[in-house]
């Protein structure tokens, strides 16, 4: 966690948030309004004002992070403050309500705020966990490089499959055709191992090929390599060589495809929460405007 946005500036904003929450809690405990704590007491108005200012400032982060030339502190510092002050809103806003919850626009604002905050918590978790996972998964390669290698492996496997006969070729070309990387939102987040299917396809075709031509029972052979050896004993040396290489190429491709799918998955996990966080933030802004206007409209 060295140098993460959480410990930025020696937890400066954690302390700011803690002091803010602590002060709010102390004030709330000390304050004893009639008839009961709510948003309409002087403390209620104070906490509400603080809360609105924090929310507006947190929303400004979306603009600040696009201003690459801004000199108002580092973006990491801003993110650190964004996370900690955003979290402190749970305490500040709850105390502002005096725990009066209802079916109305005021509670709507609270609920939307919680949705934004908790989606943000997922974001924090994703930002702490996934960058490292992405780096580990790529193993010093880029996604582009992996995709290029897959393309090459496809070409190689087609060539090898061609040497192994039309049936194998058909299977391999079908597997290339059906390889799925990425896709729908759901498929990106929960990828299926398409190359595994392709791999099984090839093995099955090899079994068929073998059974028809050589009557060798390969059902119980434990591994691909044993199977290939067994096959190789019974077919020509050119085909034997091609099949052996084909299995190597296919297993490498399988690993690469899995890596790329995982890469897409991790990136999608890092992004997906923002599609809730951002739109709900705007709903929250609208409900806040409505809340403030309504409160003073029917003062």
């Amino acid at each position: 966690m060295h140098g993460s946005f959480l410990n930025h500036g020696r937890f400066r904003y954690l302390w700011v948030a803690l002091i803010l929450c602590g002060a709010s809690i102390i004030a709330y405990a000390w304050h004893n309004p009639i008839p009961r704590p709510n948003g309409g007491t002087w403390l209620g108005y104070t906490l509400g004002t603080v809360g609105v200012l924090i929310i507006l400032w947190l929303t400004w982060y979306g603009i600040r992070k696009r201003r690459y030339s801004s000199r108002s502190g580092t973006l990491k510092g801003w993110l650190s403050a964004h996370v900690y002050l955003g979290t402190s809103l749970i305490v500040i806003a709850l105390l502002h309500t005096g725990f009066q919850i209802g079916f109305n626009i005021h509670t709507l604002a609270l609920v939307l705020m919680f949705m934004v905050i908790f989606s943000g918590f997922f974001g924090v978790w994703a930002y702490l966990r996934y960058p490292e996972a992405i780096t580990q998964n790529r193993q010093n390669a880029t996604r582009e490089a992996m995709l290029l290698e897959i393309t090459e492996l496809n070409q190689q496997s087609l060539q090898l499959a061609d040497q192994a006969g039309p049936r194998v070729h058909g299977k391999v070309s079908a597997s290339i055709e059906r390889t799925q990387i990425g896709g729908s939102i759901f498929r990106q987040l929960f990828p299926i191992d398409a190359s595994s299917d392709a791999f099984l396809d090839v093995r099955k075709s090899l079994e068929d090929f073998n059974r028809r031509d050589n009557q060798l029972d390969t059902q119980n052979l434990p591994t691909m390599f044993v199977m290939v050896d067994a096959l190789a004993r019974q077919i020509g040396s050119k085909e034997q060589d091609a099949l052996r290489k084909l299995v190597d190429v296919l297993s490498r491709k399988k690993a690469l495809t899995a890596s790329v799918s995982r890469d897409i998955q991790l990136k999608a996990m890092m992004d997906v929460w923002l599609y809730i966080h951002v739109p709900i933030t705007f709903a929250l802004l609208a409900s806040l405007i409505a809340h403030v206007v309504a409160v003073f409209f029917y003062w």
């Binding site: 009639i34 709510n38 209802g102 990136k267 609208a286």
Partner: protein
């Protein structure tokens, strides 16, 4: 059968070259083999990849010979019936069935699928590789959420406020209109009109005004007379300062004692000398001794009740009655109907409301023993109670009748009174006889009256004095007025019914009271045996409002004071020289 195979090659700058070839045969073979009609060199293509056969219907049968299949209009298929216009994709080549020109039975157009770099093609047909390239978006939902929320949470309620028609429409359509703004449950008594926000919130951006409250609460009295007590804390107070609605069904009437003690902790100072009420901070340990209200009159006859601390030594009530409680509460009291045991309840009954006691009634409570009969010759006949002229009239009449009838068995009476006369047989009395008889009757009536008033009846309980009638000069009697305090503690609200678990003697020491001068009201110490201030955890927590109200009977009505958000403006109209208050027309 004659096939036209047209190869279309796109070159730079949009130039297109077309190369036509003809194939004869029933089947159009597609593959990488040298013998194929449509020869594709791509390694992904099988040697014999697919065949295309024309069907009698004019359509074509496409059959994939490779397990990889072919894409038809984007979907991978093994066998499919296709028609003119169908796009068939084999590896990087698109084969489109086109309308055959004249002289040809069928035609296909071959073109290379472009726009995909090598590695993109791995992703097979432009699969999205990031969420940004899916249909997912942030901007559009953000705008939709923002505008929808503003519409339903702000625009519709505001319009509903100004246009009641819109509000009733939202109600009909079950759309959240103004009700979406309700900040909390209404107080129970206000719930029946809670749907109409405007009944309390008449003006936008103006806090609930007193005049909106007193529109219904017409008889609610103020706390103090604003003319006597010109204090900002009274004048600037709005109803809503204490009565905050939208805080639940029971939250409207406040009992917090600090609402009172804020001022009453030192009223002489806070009222700038206008009030001399003793300081109060808490019932348990900061409340003055109770004061009883005793009836009193000024020398010129004005009623001026006195407020006296109940623990003052030699406190006595001059009620005009003589009533020793102790004598009445002894065991086995001798009564005309035998031995009796009286209890407090024999004379003191609760009013139906349960707060106070009914007034003691002579006829039902005393007369059973204290009978007002006056002559042994008529032992059941009694004079009326508390009506002196009637008593005299009754006695006069009784004895006059007896004297004129005759037959009175009393040796001291004249003969005319004693002699028995038979009606219709004996002659009527002469004028002299009548005068003598009536003279005896008057004398007898006067003797009996004196005996009743001064001897055995009235004087038992009342102070009796002799009077002389100013016009006739006749002697008479006067009974001192009875002035029993109806309510001893009029400044507090005490309910006997709530204290029914107690014995009467727990508060009222009647058993040992020898005189009706004794004030049998309990002092504050008595109450403190059970009650303490609102913060008490060991005794009955008792806030100021348990006994005292804020809105006090006899004070000006709030409705007369309410003018704006505060009492100040209305107060000004009360001050000397002010213009008469202009009541705003109520809605």
């Amino acid at each position: 059968m004659r096939w036209l195979i047209r190869k279309v090659t796109r070159r730079r700058k949009g130039a297109v070259s077309i190369e036509d070839d003809t194939h004869f045969g029933d089947v159009l073979t597609i593959g990488r083999g040298a013998d194929q009609a449509v020869f594709l060199s791509d390694l992904k293509v099988a040697l014999n990849h697919a065949t295309l056969t024309r069907l009698p219907s004019g359509k074509f049968q496409l059959e994939s010979l490779s397990p990889g299949g072919v894409r038809i209009n984007g979907m991978i298929e093994q066998r499919e019936t296709v028609s003119i216009g169908t796009k068939i994709e084999v590896a990087q080549t698109q084969i489109t069935l086109i309308q055959p020109p004249r002289g040809v039975d069928a035609a296909v157009e071959l073109s290379v699928i472009e726009g995909q770099s090598a590695h993109e093609h791995v992703l097979t047909r432009a699969q999205a590789v990031s969420l940004a390239s899916t249909k997912l978006s942030k901007r559009r939902p953000a705008w939709i959420a923002f505008i929808a929320t503003l519409l339903f949470a702000l625009a519709i309620p505001i319009v509903s406020h100004y246009l009641p028609g819109v509000e009733s429409m939202t109600r009909k359509l079950h759309i959240l209109g103004l009700s979406a703004w309700t900040s909390g449950a209404m107080a129970a008594p206000h719930q029946f009109f809670a749907e109409d926000c405007r009944s309390c919130h008449a003006k936008a951006f103006v806090s609930t005004r007193n005049e909106d409250c007193v529109a219904c609460h017409t008889t609610t009295a103020a706390h103090a007379d604003p003319v006597k007590f010109q204090m900002p804390i009274l004048q600037d107070q709005a109803c809503a300062d204490c009565h905050k609605d939208h805080n639940g069904a029971q939250a409207l009437i406040r009992a917090e004692q600090r609402l009172c003690t804020d001022c009453h902790v030192d009223l002489p100072t806070t009222s700038q000398g206008r009030s001399r009420l003793a300081p109060v901070t808490d019932f348990g340990d900061g409340h003055p001794q109770f004061q009883v209200t005793l009836a009193a009159w000024t020398p010129d006859g004005q009623f001026a009740p006195q407020r006296v601390p109940v623990d003052r030594p030699n406190l006595s009530e001059k009620s005009g009655l003589k009533f020793p409680h102790d004598k009445h509460l002894v065991a086995d009291l001798n009564s005309p109907k035998g031995r009796k045991q009286l209890s407090c309840g024999s004379c003191h009954e609760l009013e139906p409301g349960g707060a106070k006691m009914k007034a003691v009634d002579f006829e039902t409570m005393c007369q059973e023993c204290h009978q007002l009969n006056f002559d042994t010759s008529a032992p059941t006949r009694q004079v009326p109670h508390a009506n002196i002229p009637e008593i005299i009239y009754m006695l006069d009449g009784f004895y006059a009748k007896r004297a004129l009838e005759g037959g009175w068995m009393d040796t001291s009476a004249p003969a005319v009174v004693r002699s028995r006369r038979r009606p219709g047989v004996d002659p009527a009395l002469s004028a002299a006889q009548r005068t003598e008889a009536l003279s005896w009757a008057r004398m007898r009536s006067s003797q009996v009256a004196q005996s009743l008033f001064e001897g055995r009846a009235c004087i038992t309980c009342h102070t009796v004095s002799r009077t002389v009638d100013e016009t006739t000069g006749d002697p008479g009697w006067a009974i001192a007025p009875v002035r029993v305090a109806g309510v001893w503690y009029p400044k507090s609200q005490f309910t006997h019914r709530k204290h029914e678990t107690m014995a009467c003697a727990d508060c009222h020491e009647a058993k040992t009271s020898k005189s009706s001068d004794d004030v049998l009201m309990p002092p504050i110490q008595n109450c403190r045996d059970c009650h303490a201030g609102e913060a008490s955890k060991t005794e009955v927590a008792t806030a100021c409002t348990s006994c005292h109200g804020f809105h006090l009977d006899g004070q000006p009505l709030m409705s007369a004071l309410a003018g704006g958000a505060t009492l100040k403006s209305s107060l000004e109209s009360f001050l000397p020289g002010a213009k008469p208050a202009q009541a705003e027309p109520s809605r």
